[in-house]
């Protein structure tokens, strides 16, 4: 009954009040909306394909050849013993992450909270440039500065410090952003309660910024762990777990670098695939950790000055 009334009324309505009519332009716009709705999932698949292809390609080569013995054997002469590079890679990552996190967090906090605005902008621009520098440039910087100028030689320590410089801007930027994005009234409330700037940073700022700081550190690790140039240009290849800070080192990316092409001749190419597979697992794991941390902390900070 009601529907019939509407239908019979519509011819009498002024044209502007008719809701069912569709002009050419409106039809085009609706069509565009639905096209976007189809296009986006398609693009998603296009973007996803190379990643899945890469994961598959590496996995089928590496997984059948990996065994517990291969992963844990530290035999320096065996070719399929990855124990030494795995341990060394983790050591390098731990040390480089510690240096990069310390310097990056201090620098980020200083820039966000203590430096005058113009000086802060200069520091931010420099950090962005460092982040944009190709890893090979950072590698040569490390070679010239630490290996030659500081006289450390091609060594474990030169590699670690150079890699930490490569990771530094990623930590710095997230820490800086984490502190500058704390709502201003929260900062003023802390200062208005009689907190000095450093008390604000320690007691209010850091707990709020902490999840983002962790995010930055894990992001920097995920980027750093796959880097080759900063390390191969500043270290020499070894077969043992480093005994001193000047030791030669063996690490996963170096084996990919040396064995992928040369391995075609020597038959050791499979080692490159094994290393690539392990690095891939580490990077995926780091990304999952980042997700879990952010999700957990986002809940805790929900409702902060909405």
């Amino acid at each position: 009954m009601a529907a019939a009334t509407v239908r019979s009324a519509s011819p009498a309505l002024p044209p502007d009040d008719v809701l069912t009519r569709s002009s050419g332009r409106l039809r085009w716009r609706t069509g565009f909306d639905s096209a976007i709705g189809w296009l986006l999932p398609l693009l998603f698949v296009v973007a996803l394909y190379p990643i899945l292809e890469l994961v598959y390609y590496i996995s089928v080569q590496a997984v059948p050849t990996l065994s517990w013995t291969v992963l844990t054997s530290t035999n320096p002469v065996a070719v399929d013993a990855l124990g030494v590079p795995i341990i060394t890679t983790f050591e390098i990552m731990a040390l480089a992450t510690a240096i990069a996190s310390g310097l990056g967090a201090l620098g980020g906090i200083a820039t966000a909270e203590f430096l005058p605005d113009q000086a802060a902008e200069v520091v931010r621009a420099s950090a962005n440039m460092l982040a944009g520098a190709p890893s090979v440039v950072v590698g040569y910087f490390g070679y010239i500065a630490f290996v030659l100028y500081f006289g450390w030689g091609l060594s474990y320590i030169a590699g670690v410090v150079t890699l930490s410089f490569f990771m530094l801007p990623y930590v710095f930027r997230t820490v800086d952003l984490a502190f500058t994005s704390i709502p201003r009234p929260i900062r003023e409330a802390a200062l208005g309660s009689g907190a000095g700037p450093s008390q604000y940073v320690l007691r209010v700022g850091t707990p709020i910024a902490f999840p983002q700081i962790l995010n930055g550190i894990f992001l920097a690790m995920a980027i750093g762990v796959g880097e080759t140039a900063p390390l191969v240009l500043t270290t020499t290849h070894g077969v043992l777990v480093p005994q001193s800070i000047y030791s030669p080192v063996s690490f996963l990316t170096a084996l990919i670098w040396s064995d992928f092409d040369a391995g075609k001749v020597s038959g050791l190419q499979v080692v490159a695939f094994q290393c690539a597979f392990l690095l891939m697992i580490v990077v995926i794991a780091l990304n999952i950790v980042v997700r879990v941390i952010s999700a957990r902390y986002r809940k805790r900070l929900e409702g902060l000055y909405q």
């Binding site: 009234p185 200062l191 309660s193």
Partner: protein
């Protein structure tokens, strides 16, 4: 520590503002404003948006310094001491002159730790903190609602409770003066009423300076009204007098809501 010796008779004036001018690059936000605040009083600072009332209270505990580019001249005397003098530490000023903001600004900590925030900064002992937090929560009118779960995250409280927690946080360090910058503008009527009754209790012990754009609120809680317009103090007087017989036409227009 004290900048200038307290002159005799400061018991009658806790905070004294003399010829205060605050200017940004473009214009004067506060123009030669002079006003005294006696103990145990609640002064409502009212005026149209942009009249400088928020800027005014923020200069009273040196919060304006956190906004770069503002120039401040004139003087603000706290118990006879010039708070803008070079020897004065702004951190100590803010401990004696507390502040509550437009929206609740609780920290992501427990209810207890929020209230204890100012005391932790000055390393009070645990027992003293316990007593001061209980007292502050009681005086802020929040104790009965939270006494059983002081360890709950403060962010889980309602907006009105959060705002009373902010008042408790300001109270815990026992400041003499509390600045309230439109403390109920983000609250619903019931929560507003709770905060207003809290303010009425607090004026027995403190100097309260309340910025509000709500004439009704000023009428309900204040005993004195200062009307600001374009950064100038147009008039100040006892609340009933200002509301019933304002001397200035601008004040009359504002309180009757006929403001251009």
């Amino acid at each position: 520590m004290t900048a200038t010796p307290a002159p005799s008779g400061w018991e009658d004036v806790v905070l004294s503002v003399r010829d205060l001018t605050v200017s940004s690059k473009e214009r004067k936000l506060i123009d030669r404003l002079s006003l005294d605040f006696p103990p145990r009083s609640l002064t409502a600072v009212i005026g149209p948006s942009g009249c400088g009332k928020t800027t005014f209270v923020r200069t009273l505990n040196r919060m304006t310094e956190l906004t770069p580019g503002l120039k401040i001249s004139g003087s603000v005397l706290y118990l006879g001491q010039e708070i803008y003098s070079r020897e004065v530490n702004p951190v100590l000023v803010r401990r004696r002159i507390g502040m509550v903001f437009q929206r609740p600004t609780v920290f992501p900590k427990s209810i207890f730790e929020n209230a204890a925030f100012g005391l932790r900064l000055i390393n009070e002992d645990e027992g003293a903190i316990d007593r001061a937090v209980t007292d502050a929560l009681q005086r802020a009118g929040l104790w009965d609602e939270v006494k059983d779960d002081l360890d709950r995250p403060a962010l889980s409280l309602s907006g009105g409770q959060q705002q009373r927690l902010c008042i408790a946080r300001a109270l815990a360090t026992r400041p003499r003066v509390i600045l309230l910058d439109e403390p109920t503008s983000a609250l619903d009527p019931a929560a507003t009423q709770r905060v207003e009754s809290t303010m009425q209790h607090l004026k027995e012990d403190h100097v309260l300076i309340l910025v509000t754009h709500n004439v009704g609120q000023a009428a309900r809680v204040s005993d004195r009204i200062a009307f600001l317009h374009s950064g100038r103090l147009i008039e100040v007087g006892p609340t009933p007098e200002i509301l019933e017989r304002p001397r200035e036409a601008l004040t009359q227009q504002f309180i009757t809501g006929r403001f251009a």
